[in-house]
């Protein structure tokens, strides 16, 4: 992998993390925010491949771990597995069709929500699955998919640019 792309990726993750933890003037509880880090993880895996999904997922999860939760490595593990499985479906990827990436993000977010629900709530004996599903998992999913839809043209433009740049550097077109 290319050094520039690595740095840019880290910067993108950082920006997403800051946006996700941003307050917009004041903190407000009980509001649902889109899962930007998950979008990056899922799309990295789906658009570039398994390896990319793994390391991007790991970094995103680590950010998440530092900002919340007591276990370092917990969200990192969830994210890198999500990234890996998205990478498994990389062969289906075709950048002019927006439906598959959206599905990938949606399924990833659903899986993420269910994993958190089971490991952090069911294991503590709190079984209000309906509430969790309708108050958090589904709103988050919708919001996340919506944001993906809006960002998708930008993501595609960047990924084409990065691809061309790399091709040129490796001297294939020169």
């Amino acid at each position: 992998m290319n050094r520039y792309r690595f740095i840019i990726k880290i910067l993108i993750i950082l920006v997403a993390f800051l946006a996700q933890s941003m307050l917009f003037g004041s903190i407000s509880f009980a509001s649902v925010r889109p899962n930007l880090l998950l979008i990056i993880t899922a799309l990295s895996g789906f658009m570039i491949g398994e390896k990319e999904g793994i390391w991007v997922g790991f970094v995103c999860g680590l950010f998440w771990d530092i900002s919340s939760g007591e276990l370092i490595g917990y969200y990192a593990l969830i994210f890198l597995i999500i990234g890996y499985f998205n990478g498994r479906f990389h062969s289906l990827f075709f950048d002019e069709d927006v439906r598959l990436p959206l599905t990938a993000v949606a399924v990833s977010d659903l899986v993420f929500g269910l994993i958190v629900c089971v490991t952090q709530f069911f294991l503590r004996g709190r079984f209000a699955f309906g509430t969790y599903l309708f108050r958090i998992i589904l709103p988050e999913l919708l919001f996340t998919v919506l944001v993906t839809l809006m960002l998708y043209p930008l993501i595609i433009r960047y990924s084409r640019f990065a691809y061309d740049f790399e091709q040129r550097r490796s001297g294939k077109f020169v």
Partner: protein, 290 residues
């Protein structure tokens, strides 16, 4: 074809390696809190300054847009407040009298500790957590400002949460409405103790649950004040948590449960007060005195 196969095997290995790193990290952070140390410091010098900056910008833009709207409101409010000042001056005189009497009575009962009078330091909320599941937030003061884990956090007159972790220049606070939060509380008028726990199901309605309040003859009505109890080993005694908004008897007929409206406004939390003494320190002091 061969190269594709190679990549596949490698990526599986990569998955295992990274997963192993995660498991080791989890194990280490379970074993000792030290594991988070390096991450804390790194976060303190990279992400936190950016969050502070962003928060500053965010506040500034909100302020600017609100300024224009609020001038009119301010004028009317000013008139109102002027009137209120007059009323309060009168009331203050009365209260001063009451205060003297209270001091006298407190002397009688040897209540030399005024619980509401803990030393506090102000802090600003700079970031919420990334997750939709938990209510943890970051404030802009940390170890350097003397913040320690276990310190209680208030907003206005109400309890907000407890410091769970500190970095050099930040601290994270778990709010009492977080699903994993437990606070030992007490009905102010009767002194009966209950358990107050955050509940994700109630977050939408802005309430928290209380449980295990013994059934007794003492009538608890809606609006009853709930404060932190003296048996808690984490929360200082006598901090206002909120007001009872609903109360029901459990099926077992022995205990009661219900909901509390928190005294702190969680919907718009910007500035908080950290009490600079933890319960553990206070207990130690008291033991020495005895």
């Amino acid at each position: 074809m061969k190269s594709v196969k190679n990549i596949k095997i490698k990526s599986r290995h990569l998955l295992l390696i990274f997963a192993a790193i995660c498991v080791i990290l989890m194990g280490l952070s379970l074993l000792s809190k030290m594991t988070r140390g390096p991450f804390r410091v790194i976060a303190g010098y990279t992400v936190v300054p950016m969050q502070k900056g962003l928060n500053h910008i965010g506040r500034w833009t909100v302020d600017v847009t609100q300024n224009f709207q609020t001038i009119k409101e301010l004028r009317t409010e000013n008139k109102k407040l002027q009137k209120q000042i007059d009323d309060l001056t009168v009331e203050n005189g009365e209260l001063a009298l009451n205060q003297k009497e209270l001091e006298r009575l407190e002397g009688l009962y040897k209540l030399d500790q005024n619980y509401a009078d803990y030393e506090k330091t102000g802090a600003r909320v700079i970031a919420s957590n990334t997750s939709n599941w938990f209510d943890v937030f970051t404030i802009d003061k940390g170890k350097k400002d003397g913040i320690k884990p276990g310190m209680n956090v208030m907003a206005g007159s109400g309890l907000v949460g407890i410091v769970t972790e500190t970095g050099p220049n930040w601290a994270s606070v778990r709010s009492i409405i977080d699903d994993t939060s437990y606070v030992s509380g007490m009905m102010l008028s009767t002194g009966e103790k209950c358990m107050i726990r955050g509940d994700l199901r109630l977050i939408g309605s802005g309430k928290i649950r209380f449980e295990d309040l013994p059934v007794s003859d003492a009538e608890i009505e809606k609006g009853e004040q709930v404060v932190t109890s003296y048996i808690s080993n984490k929360y200082l005694q006598g901090i206002l948590i909120g007001y009872v908004s609903e109360i029901k008897t459990d099926k077992n007929g022995l205990t009661r449960h219900g909901t509390i409206t928190p005294a702190a406004d969680f919907s718009d939390l910007q500035d908080v007060l950290v009490i600079t003494k933890t319960k553990v320190e206070l207990d130690k002091q008291n033991n020495k005195k005895d």
